[in-house]
């Protein structure tokens, strides 16, 4: 019943400790041969925060995210999550400690249904072994039901009921982006990293996505890091913004501070005499 939508299990706050998501990046540097993609970046993300990372094209935003999620291995610096050093850990281990992400270019299984894509993400939470699964023990059954329920809560939350059984490959782009968010949520991450979730969306799809993110952060108290180009969205959603330029952190502060920062304006528009 719609009246009972209020309290999805997946978002239930069991304890502050369980949802702790303190990310610390210290002196991070990433080079590709002679090219310095990220240079000596230090950044903190605190539990319950909505932080956006912005910057012109090629500023190193995605590179920074890829270091945090284990896709790139930085040469220098330390990344720690909830006090634990996770620098250069592979992606699947980072998912286990609670860092989930979406990709700029959608990375889903196009030949599987929406439901299967989301259920697949639950894999890290499966507790049963091969043998008990083979006999389909009552405990396995219970667990399967629970995972399906959690995935269904995400489907309900993201309003994907009518596409539940559709193949992801047959969906329009905007909806696929939504499925991506759903899959990241299915991991039950403590820290949710979103790489340009609004890119290529039309206005209506953007509005829906803003609604979902606002609810995720405001009501369900998720910790979110967003990389995004659309300034109006960034300004309206973020609590704090970090600006990157040529791989370096240029500024950090509230949306109001960032908007008033002359260096940021220069980075985006070029030096005043050139403009």
């Amino acid at each position: 019943m719609k009246a009972f939508r209020a309290d999805p299990e997946i978002f239930r706050l069991t304890s502050r400790d369980r949802d702790r998501a303190d990310l610390r990046i210290e002196g991070l540097t990433l080079r590709f041969g002679g090219v310095v993609a990220v240079h000596d970046v230090t950044l903190d993300v605190r539990t319950g925060e909505f932080l956006s990372v912005i910057g012109p094209n090629g500023a190193g935003k995605t590179s920074l995210l890829n270091c945090v999620t284990g896709y790139y291995r930085p040469q220098e610096g330390i990344i720690s999550f909830n006090g634990k050093n996770v620098t250069r850990h592979p992606p699947h281990e980072l998912v286990r400690v609670g860092i989930g992400r979406t990709f700029q270019n959608i990375e889903l299984f196009p030949g599987l249904s929406v439901l299967s894509n989301l259920l697949l993400a639950r894999h890290i939470h499966y507790g049963y072994n091969f043998l008990s699964a083979a006999f389909f023990l009552p405990s396995v059954r219970r667990e399967e039901v629970r995972h399906r329920r959690i995935v269904e809560e995400i489907i309900d939350f993201l309003e994907m009921q009518s596409i539940r059984h559709r193949l992801v490959g047959s969906l329009p782009y905007g909806l696929r982006k939504r499925v991506e968010l759903g899959r990241a949520l299915a991991l039950e991450p403590k820290l949710l990293i979103l790489d340009e979730p609004f890119a290529g969306m039309n206005l209506e799809e953007k509005e829906d996505m803003v609604r979902f993110l606002r609810e995720l952060h405001g009501v369900w108290k998720r910790t979110i890091v967003l990389v995004e180009h659309d300034m109006s969205i960034v300004m309206s959603l973020s609590e704090r913004i970090a600006v990157l330029n040529f791989g370096e952190k240029l500024a950090e502060g509230t949306p109001a501070e960032i908007q008033g920062n002359p260096e940021v304006t220069r980075a985006y528009l070029g030096p005043a005499e050139e403009a």
Binding site: M1, A3, E153, D156, S162
Partner: protein, 652 residues
């Protein structure tokens, strides 16, 4: 424990007479006692991917909690509550809870704009309002100062409502249930006491009637109206233990009110609610209802969806479908004319059914349907025939808000495609001297809210005036001609509805537009516009050369084709409504020439004035007439068509 209402048992009459004195919440209490937690559920709703069931005992408990919650919020007997909700269990809980407290419910459309909502809520002096979600809350907040009587707004869906927590005007449905639970613990027995105070003559629901002119009226329906509607339907439907109803039309319409509060409550049947509007086809298939009452639009959409799918299918499927359809149509035709199917047809029909019809109906969730009804706007007999040929028992029905819902339906044994059938047992229909359909039944409403004059006008000697013109055919089946205000009289005083006849003509694939004349004339005549695409294809298949529309419409073969189509329609029309003469117009009626409105409706008077010469020629008995017609080209230039128009007699 068992069913309250066994239609086969001897206690039937006893139960019925008992129910005839109950209010709806009283029946709910009885059903909860009789059916308890076993048997088919009272309500199913698909949520989180699974059908969630609510048994009768839980149904009652929910209603109790909502009612007591309302009571603790200050709802008193005779108060009115507004509902701006979607189809869902909360809708039924709220409605019965309000009625349990002796209150009246009014359902408003969720699509209504804020000012519309405030007007209606103010008119009904609603003290409490149930709304679906944030969207509706926002609308009410916008007009808050204009609805000072509303004490509390209860929202069903909490999504997005986090930012509204501090507003004491709002409360979630969940919190209301909680309030009710607490109130119940400190006040045991209050709910039952309140329910027992209800009288059957009390008003239960007020329905907004579609006001075509000015402010819509509020029709007051009593508990008794719904109970009787339920009983009448139970007598009509094929007997079965449980009937699954899939709730599709909005609660602000009479059909789902009639079923949700009347039939399902009295019969102890299951109400099913789809997950979302987009998942209806899927959800429908999962439930596989045995009875459906929907708008004609539903069936027309379904028919065209099937046709489009078949057009894209592989050749084998296509061939099989066409063969089966032909077989089905032939059999159905014979069945309708002779009442039975010749034995020689039983094998092909069996094959068609097994290979095509069953699988197809299963795909669209209609394989278990015993009776499907269509109401509202006129439906093409061809669409009905299409489904009937597939073995789906689709029939027309008729009713209105003021009559408490559907009171006229085609019987199973002798359906007539173009009628709305016979009255339900307990309802009586009569045609007044001026051709208006009148109805008398226990289900007929109690009057319009604070509108004595309109209420007076709605009745004539105790009969409800439907406002529709109709005739009873030789079998006693009702044929609806059209809105009484829109019908026209011929010279002899016979009424006819141009729209009624034109709609029928336009069901032919070869006729694009038709205009009927005959006001104050001895007989009816028609202008016909052929359908260029379909007639063109037809002509090409027969190697008939043609150039323009004008040329095609004057081909002798085409004239014969159209005359045949008109004759076919004529056969189904009562005597005075038959078309006697017609002209195939040399040009298409066009909005650019102001002959049609921009929405594609014929501007009858204008067309009459423009072509008065041709019309006079038809009534003067001429064979043909030379005309000079003006045409406007797309680029704005005008030209003249000089041609001779032939006048055709439509002999039998």
């Amino acid at each position: 424990m068992g069913r309250l209402f066994h239609r086969e048992s001897r206690t039937n009459e006893e139960t019925a007479s008992f129910l005839r004195n109950c209010t709806l919440p009283q029946i709910l209490l009885k059903q909860a006692e009789a059916l308890g937690r076993g048997g088919p559920p009272a309500i199913r709703e698909k949520a989180w991917g699974v059908w969630q069931a609510v048994d009768w005992k839980s149904y009652r408990d929910y209603v109790e909690k909502v009612a007591l919650g309302l009571k603790s919020l200050g709802f008193r007997r005779k108060d009115t509550a507004g509902l701006i909700v979607d189809n869902g269990p909360e809708w039924l809980f709220s409605e019965l809870a309000v009625q349990a407290l002796g209150g009246v419910t009014v359902n408003l459309f969720t699509s209504a704009v804020a000012t519309e909502l405030s007007q209606t809520l103010q008119r009904i002096q609603a003290s409490h309002v149930f709304v679906q979600d944030q969207e509706q809350v926002d609308k009410l907040l916008e007009v808050r100062d204009r609805i000072p009587l509303v004490q509390k707004v209860i929202y069903v869906d909490p999504t997005g409502m986090d930012g509204y927590r501090d507003d004491p005007w709002l409360i979630s449905f969940r919190d209301l249930l909680f309030l009710g639970e607490q109130y119940g613990e400190s006040h045991p027995g209050v709910f039952e006491k309140e329910v027992m105070r209800g009288r059957q003559d009390d008003i239960a629901v007020m329905m907004l009637t579609s006001g075509t002119t000015g402010l819509s009226k509020l029709a007051m329906l009593s508990h008794g109206n719904f109970v009787h509607m339920g009983l009448q339907w139970l007598d009509t439907l094929p007997p079965s233990e449980n009937i699954d109803w899939v709730s599709l039309s909005p609660p602000a319409w009479i059909v789902d009110q009639m079923w949700g509060l009347g039939v399902s409550l009295v019969g102890g049947f299951t109400m099913n609610f789809p997950e979302t509007a987009e998942t209806i086809p899927e959800d429908l298939r999962e439930i596989g209802p045995s009875v459906m009452i929907t708008s004609s639009r539903f069936w027309e959409d379904l028919a065209s969806r099937i046709r489009v799918r078949m057009a894209d299918a592989g050749w084998l499927k296509k061939k099989a479908f066409h063969w089966a359809e032909r077989t089905g149509r032939r059999v159905e035709k014979v069945r309708m004319e002779e009442g039975r199917v010749p034995r020689s047809w039983s094998l092909p029909l069996f094959l068609a059914d097994k290979t095509v019809f069953r699988p197809l109906l299963d795909r669209v969730g209609c394989s278990r349907i015993q009776s499907a009804y269509t109401g509202g706007h006129p439906i093409s007999p061809d669409v009905i025939f299409f489904f009937r040929a597939m073995g789906l028992n689709l029939k027309q029905c008729y009713g209105l808000t003021e009559s408490g819902g559907i009171f006229q339906a085609q019987p199973d044994h002798s359906p007539k495609l173009d009628t709305v059938g016979l009255s339900l047992p307990g309802s009586e229909v009569m045609i007044s001297e001026d051709s208006e359909v009148l109805v008398k039944s226990e289900t007929v409403f109690k009057g319009y809210l604070r509108d004595y004059q309109a209420t007076e006008e709605a009745f004539s000697n105790g009969w409800l005036r439907t406002g529709d013109a109709g005739v009873l055919n030789e079998d006693g089946h009702l044929v609806i001609i059209g809105r009484k205000a829109e019908v026209i009289r011929d010279k002899a005083g016979n009424v006819f509805s141009p729209d009624f006849i034109e709609t029928r003509l336009k069901f032919s694939p070869y006729i694009q537009e038709a205009v009927i004349f005959g006001e104050g004339r001895p007989y009816l005549t028609a202008f016909i516009n052929i359908d260029m695409g379909n007639v063109g294809n037809w002509a090409e298949d027969r190697m008939i050369p043609y150039t323009t529309y004008t040329d095609l419409s004057q081909q002798e073969e085409v004239e014969t084709l159209i005359l045949g189509e008109v004759r076919r329609v004529n056969r189904e029309l009562p005597g005075p409504m038959k078309i006697r003469k017609l002209v195939l117009l040399y040009k298409l009626l066009d909005a650019d020439d102001e002959e049609l409105t921009r929405t594609g409706k014929v501007r009858r008077r204008f067309v009459y004035g423009l072509y008065v010469d041709i019309i006079e020629a038809m009534y003067a008995g001429k064979r043909e007439i030379a005309v000079k017609g003006k045409v406007r080209y797309r680029d704005g230039r005008t030209g003249v068509i000089e041609t001779t128009v032939r006048i055709h007699d439509v002999e039998e």
